[in-house]
């Protein structure tokens, strides 16, 4: 247990350090002057006064060597201060935490929908591999992978907001406003989850202990409920964690289309505007959460999976 936690903590620290440094370097390794980008994010327009560029660069410490800037930020973070946004001059934490709350809600809803849909579909398909329902489910869920979010989202708006007038087209006000973005985000996980559950069920059904259970007198339904389905769902825990981690910062298209003030939009805007403290603060939080969630999933997987024998070493 302790070596497992220690190993994962080291992973977390390394991941945060590498990703925050990579984010820190983005404005310097993409074309254009970072200070001009910051100014343009405050005042739309192309012509930027050179005096303003110089003065703002000085006041933000952007003329210091990169290593100095990075370690200054790192020191502040270690003392619990994520600093001020270059663009708004407000606390980074005050921007990151509300956005994170929104994204956590959205991602939880999306993956909740995905699990609710993919569990029955995957089980039906896995229990009768090669049957007509299996082929239909596989074909439909595979098709979902090919539907990009920027296409799905307007179609859902067209149907549910414009045609049926049952859901709002955008915004983040109440539960109803979360339905379309969550549904859009859920489509691809539905496909992957269904596929994983199906494969898990097929593997579990083929395991030696299932005929043994039948030999002990369990009915087919009982053996499926006690041995096939629980073991078949183990791979889903890891996949769920991977998607959860990925969507924390990766739902930018959906957040823009549906005007959701989440982490994806925050990080995207921060990178575009060279708002390094917000980008770094956001990435640190997302990476930490992602590592935390995948660690938890590994933990659960190791406890449940017969293949790794419940080992946490």
């Amino acid at each position: 247990m302790i070596p497992f936690i220690a190993k994962r903590t080291a992973t977390l620290v390394a991941a945060v350090a590498v990703s925050s440094f990579a984010v820190f370097l983005i404005p310097y390794f993409t074309p254009g002057d970072p200070v001009r980008k910051i100014i343009r994010s405050r005042v739309a327009g192309d012509a930027v006064d050179n005096g303003s560029v110089q003065a703002l660069g000085e006041s933000l410490g952007l003329h210091d060597p990169l290593a100095v800037q990075y370690f200054r930020w790192l020191g502040d973070v270690l003392s619990g201060d994520m600093g001020l946004s270059y663009v708004s001059r407000t606390a980074v934490a005050g921007q990151v935490l509300p956005a994170l709350t929104v994204t956590l809600s959205l991602v939880t809803m999306a993956l909740g929908i995905a699990v609710a849909v993919s569990l029955p579909l995957g089980i039906i398909a896995g229990l009768r591999p090669g049957s007509a329902p299996d082929k239909t489910i596989t074909a439909v869920t595979q098709a979902l992978i090919a539907m990009p979010e920027y296409w799905v989202a307007p179609v859902l708006v067209l149907v549910f907001a414009l045609k049926l007038s049952v859901l709002p087209s955008a915004g983040w006000t109440d539960l109803s406003s979360a339905v379309l973005p969550a549904l859009t985000l859920a489509l691809r996980p539905i496909s992957y989850f269904t596929s994983a559950v199906r494969a898990g069920i097929i593997d579990a059904a083929a395991a030696d202990h299932v005929p043994a259970a039948r030999a002990r007198g369990l009915s087919h339904a009982q053996s499926v409920l006690r041995h096939v389905i629980p073991n078949g769902l183990v791979p889903l825990s890891t996949l769920f964690a991977v998607w959860f981690a990925g969507l924390l910062g990766g739902s930018v298209i959906v957040e823009v289309i549906f005007a959701v003030p989440g982490m994806g939009r925050l990080l995207f805007d921060a990178v575009i505007n060279s708002d390094i403290p917000v980008a770094q603060g956001g990435v640190v939080v997302v990476v930490a959460l992602a590592v935390g969630v995948t660690t938890l999933a590994d933990f659960v997987h190791r406890l449940l999976s017969p293949a790794v024998g419940g080992s946490l070493a």
Partner: protein, 518 residues
């Protein structure tokens, strides 16, 4: 989307077009329902295309949001229809010396926190903007030296040199006046500190600003109970919201949504010339584009009608020069630039251009349509024997080379009135020899003399004549190829009353803006 249209939608669209005058030109007013009466209990929802990013700092574009929301007011305002500066929080102004302008502050005005608007509070607010780290384009220490309260009723704005445009500068939203209590701890707090018809009461970060009616507004009864201004950066979403009725007014509708909205029931589409012209910038400082005949040949080869009809789907008009025809400084009505391939080939031959010097167009990716525009231009230039390659780049990536003169042609567009409602800043920065944003690397002494004279000319009519003369020089020299005049397009529900479209989206909610109950 079209599959959902019903016949009444088409009738409504026809009525809409009839009401809105069909074409695009100057500012348009939401005709609304002539017989409908305002229901003063109604609230309104406006979808705006940008969100405040700088914590309401007035020197930033956040000032636009406060102004369009009916919160922030300035000493003067710009009457788009009349083309002149009119009183707002100042009742009158005069140039008391060549470098001083005195503004008389309107009496009886209170901030929304109950404190009185005074000359001292105005001077303090303006000095706060002057002292910003990233100064406002319209109002900074390069053109304003000081702001002082002369007496309880008069504010003096002093300039380093004679400057006839100070009243225009004080119409800029960046010079909005807030109560002294709004400025604390280096930040700006507009809540309860404006003078306008609407008081901001709550904000959902990056989502919306909610406002209530200012019951004590100095400018008369406010016709709406309140408003919500939403920050919706995606154009298609803004269009969808006005179509569903979730929004009453949606600003800056993208071209791709126009046909749907024009056919939608209960929606009026309003259009006006924007101060933006899509332009093919040409590097006048480098061969072969340093030869005016080559530039003219390029201009003559372009089929602007086809460009406007195809890429812009008719939502932009072919340009006739550096200004939109409806602008008061556009001068005599110019004829449209017609494609003349024979003349273009002749000019090219006389300039000695040969195809072994291909040209490159940089199309900035921030404007998605420029990729298609570049392709059309590439085809047009091929017809006269100029091989063209196209590079798609982010503007920030292209800027260093463009400013340094290491490029051939750039597809971009500029807002001529980005700082004040007068093109002097644009004409100076973009085309004078010492211009700080002279992408064309154009330099002409006569042009510079004209602009220098205009910058000192108080008489508006005379100044506009000089701008027209400057525009004529740019056109004669074919400095750039001006392609299409872009349109500012808003959409409003038909029960919105007295909405006057502002192409720059400075003034959206006013005391007169109203909604009928139906």
């Amino acid at each position: 989307m079209r599959s959902f249209l019903r016949p009444p939608a088409l009738i409504a669209a026809a009525l809409t077009l009839a009401l809105s005058g069909c074409g695009f030109s100057g500012t348009q007013t939401q005709a609304g329902q002539a017989a409908a009466t305002a229901d003063t209990n109604q609230r309104i929802v406006v979808d705006n295309f940008r969100a405040p990013v700088a914590n309401w700092a007035l020197e930033s574009d956040a000032a636009y949001i406060l102004s369009l929301s009916g919160c922030l007011e300035t000493l003067t305002s710009y009457d788009q229809a009349a083309g002149k500066v009119i009183p707002m929080l100042a009742t009158e102004w005069k140039q008391s010396s060549p470098v001083d302008w005195d503004f008389s502050i309107r009496q009886g005005v209170s901030f929304q926190d109950g404190t009185a608007l005074t000359a001292e509070s105005v001077a303090a607010a303006l000095n706060h903007v002057l002292d910003a780290k990233v100064p406002a384009r319209a109002f900074n220490r390069t053109m304003i030296s000081n702001v002082t309260a002369v007496d309880g009723q008069t504010v003096r704005v002093s300039t380093p040199a004679e400057n006839p445009l100070v009243p225009y500068r004080l119409a800029s939203v960046n010079t909005g006046i807030l109560a002294p209590a709004a400025y604390k701890d280096g930040a700006v707090d507009p809540f309860g500190h404006c003078t306008g018809p609407f008081t901001p009461v709550s904000e959902k970060a990056k989502q919306s600003l909610t406002l209530d009616r200012n019951e004590h507004y100095w400018g008369g009864d406010v016709q709406l109970a309140g408003a919500e201004v939403r920050f919706i950066t995606n154009g298609a979403t803004r269009a969808a919201q006005v179509q569903t009725g979730e929004a009453d007014i949606s600003l800056s509708i993208p071209v791709s949504s126009l046909s749907t909205l024009k056919s939608a029931p209960d929606v009026t589409v309003l259009g006006a010339d924007s101060p933006r012209t899509a332009t093919l910038y040409m590097n006048n400082g480098r061969a072969p584009l340093d030869n005016v005949d080559v530039r003219k040949a390029i201009r003559d080869s372009l089929d602007l009608d086809a460009l406007a009809a195809s890429v812009y789907e008719g939502a932009a008009l072919p340009a006739t020069g550096p200004f939109a025809p409806s602008e008061p400084w556009a001068g005599e009505k110019s004829e449209e630039q017609k494609q003349d391939l024979d003349e273009a080939r002749k000019l090219l031959a006389s300039a000695g251009y040969t195809a072994d010097r291909p040209l490159e167009i940089i199309a900035i990716v921030e404007r998605a349509e420029f990729a298609d525009v570049a392709a059309v231009i590439q085809e047009n230039l091929k017809n006269i024997g100029i091989p063209v390659t196209i590079q798609s780049k982010e503007y920030a990536a292209a800027e260093p080379d463009v400013l340094a003169g290491n490029y051939d042609m750039l597809l971009s567009q500029r807002n001529r009135l980005i700082d004040i409602a007068d093109p002097i800043g644009f004409l100076t920065a973009d085309y004078t020899c010492a211009g700080t944003y002279n992408l064309s690397h154009f330099c002409d002494p006569e042009y510079d003399r004209t602009i220098t004279e205009a910058a000192k000319t108080v008489d508006t009519g005379r100044r506009y004549e000089l701008y027209a003369k400057a525009g004529k020089i740019l056109k004669e020299q074919a400095v750039n190829a001006w392609l299409v005049n872009e349109q500012a397009t808003d959409a409003a529900r038909t029960n919105v009353l007295s909405y006057v479209q502002d192409p720059l989206s400075r003034y959206v909610l006013t005391a007169k803006t109203a909604k009928s109950g139906s």
